[in-house]
Amino acid sequence: MTGWFDENLVSILNGFAIGSLLFILAVGLSIVFGMMDVLNLAHGAFFLTGSYLAVSFVAGGSWGGYVTALGIAALVGLLAGGALSGMTEPLARRPILDQALLTLGISLIVAEVLSIAYGNDVLSVPPPPGLTGSVSVAGNAYPVYRLMLIVVGLLLALVVWLVVEKTSVGALVRASVADRDMVSALGIDNRKVKFAVLGIGSMLATVAGVLAAPVYGARPGLDKTILILALVVVVIGGLGSVRGALIGALLIGQVESLGRALVPEIASFILFGTLALVLVVRPRGLFGSRKLAHG
């Protein structure tokens, strides 16, 4: 048993790194959907925007550039989310597929503009100084930057969980997920809540893009891959649930890492096989409420 554990420790650790990143990415998507029925298919494009911002600012591999990239990405994400919130306002009473059409259109535009601006080559980003190189974990090398990702991801998860579960703002968000009309009847402007949640959710996506850049680089098409992963996480966890997003992200992190290491023969099938399996057993995800199924 310990032999098995040692052998797969790196894979497990790596699953946590992927999981942390996926959680940062998915939590915004999940709350926005649960609260406002906005299916934001531009989430992946926001992530890629963050990655390309990292390319522009981290070029020299300095902490200054890294922090600048994070700051600018956060600002860009906040503004983009706010703008998206405004753009979806006229669609509030329309079928959810109209929002899918809008946000997918936006993601196509953003991705094309990025490819015009940065070209189609694969661009890579160095980790900030001090986080380059590897450390030894159970006799195997493991990159330091990914260890930091796990720490940052878990910290962010804790912060988001505390905010949503323990503060009055969080209570408002949870109440909006449960019954939007009631919140509105209490005299709270739904649009402001939506603006804030969509803004912060998109900000988390662009920030995740910067954080992931030293690992995944920046390239055309990354947005689509990431969007699908995030959607899978959100759906497995259950829409609108922070806990679901966390469990879903950690589960998919392990599936993508440990799962692939253990059964490489079916690596190509394992992600969507897991999704199908979860939805067959629990048609509304692990922590989804019934109300949302037909949202």
């Binding site: 299916l39 959810i96 196509l108």
Partner: protein, 343 residues
């Protein structure tokens, strides 16, 4: 682009149309019979005037349109937005390609096998999918689509893997191969025309009425004694069958089938074509499909490969300008008949 014969009015259309005067109603009926005929005649005449590339682009539009209308039966009529409909299109395309290569390329045989294969594949997977709804249905169908895509990729000995299934022979009618794009076009036009007709018959039948009832109020239909599961499942299989039919035509026209035919991009594009055209109208998606194919195949290459940018702009504008897709335009026209129009 052939308009349905005797378009069944959707509930929404009925609700939004004020009771027409008799003269207008007569015009309406005339229009409904005449317009499809005129469009059909124009479409049939296309190969006489249009160069081969235009003709084969139009063939692809017709095929993609049939595919989109089959999805509309699910999305618009039954209320099940699928993001994996390309799975059945792909299954049909592979089935037709394999039949044409290994058995016979005789006219309708591969195409009918394709339809059957699409329906069988939809039956095998649909019972799982229709148990869920809304976004969960969207994601479950996405998963099914991706798994089928991956199977096509992995079963290289049968499907040719990512190189695709190539060397599909030209369609034959009575033993004569249709070598010219114009003849292939007529074959495609005939089959898609029958396909549209079939889908309209399904949608306007009492069965289609029950599907709409389930879409609008499932608990009510259940209390009336209908089994929503059975009806949804039947709709899923029928839609899969027609998607397979379209896939079979695709194999006959393009003569190459690759895993991406069953993949996410195809599924997403066809769903967007349905929304762009106006879900539930059964004719709007035809125009939506035309826009998607034209932008991608005909205009894309002239835009330095930035077709997706244009497509994105079209989608965003459409959301605001055409709130109910192209289908919404008809109501606008009907309410404000232009002065030039003959009564």
């Amino acid at each position: 682009m052939s308009l349905p014969v005797g378009t069944p009015a959707t509930p929404a259309a009925i609700a939004s149309t004020t009771p027409p005067r008799t003269a207008e109603r007569r015009t309406g009926r005339l229009l409904r019979v005449a317009l499809p005929l005129v469009v059909l005649v124009v479409l049939a005449a296309v190969p006489l005037f249009v160069a081969p590339f235009g003709t084969s682009t139009l063939s692809r539009i017709l095929i993609f349109a049939l595919f989109a209308v089959s999805l509309d039966l699910l999305v618009g009529v039954t209320g099940l937005p699928s993001l994996g409909h390309a799975a059945y299109f792909g299954v049909g395309a592979y089935a037709a390609g394999l039949v044409a290569i290994h058995w016979t390329a005789e006219g309708v045989v591969p195409v009918l096998v394709a339809a059957a294969a699409g329906a069988v594949a939809a039956g095998a997977t649909g019972w799982l999918a229709v148990r869920s709804g809304g976004v969960y249905f969207l994601m479950l169908t996405l998963a099914i689509g991706e798994l089928v895509h991956q199977l096509a990729q992995s079963l290289a000995s049968v499907t040719g893997g990512s190189n695709g299934l190539y060397g599909i022979p030209t369609v034959r009618i009575g033993g004569t191969p249709l070598t010219l794009p114009g003849y292939v076009y007529w074959f495609v036009l005939a089959v898609t025309g029958l396909g549209y007709l079939g889908l309209h018959l399904v949608a306007s039948s009492p069965f289609g009425g029950v599907l709409r009832g389930i879409r609008d109020n499932e608990p009510r239909m259940r209390s009336l004694g209908y089994s929503p599961f059975r009806y949804k499942f039947a709709a899923f299989v029928i839609a899969g069958g027609f998607a397979g039919l379209a896939g079979g035509l695709f194999a006959a026209q393009v003569r190459l089938v690759t895993p991406s035919e069953a993949g996410f991009t195809t599924s997403a594009l066809v769903l967007l074509a349905v929304i762009l055209g106006g879900a539930g109208s059964l004719w709007g998606p035809i125009l939506g499909a035309a826009v998607v194919v034209l932008v991608r195949d005909a205009l894309g290459p002239d835009l330095d490969g930035h077709g997706p940018l244009l497509l994105g702009i079209v989608f965003v504008l459409a959301v605001y300008v055409l709130p109910r897709g192209f289908a919404g335009l008809r109501d606008l026209l009907r309410r404000r008949p232009s002065p030039g129009e003959t009564p």
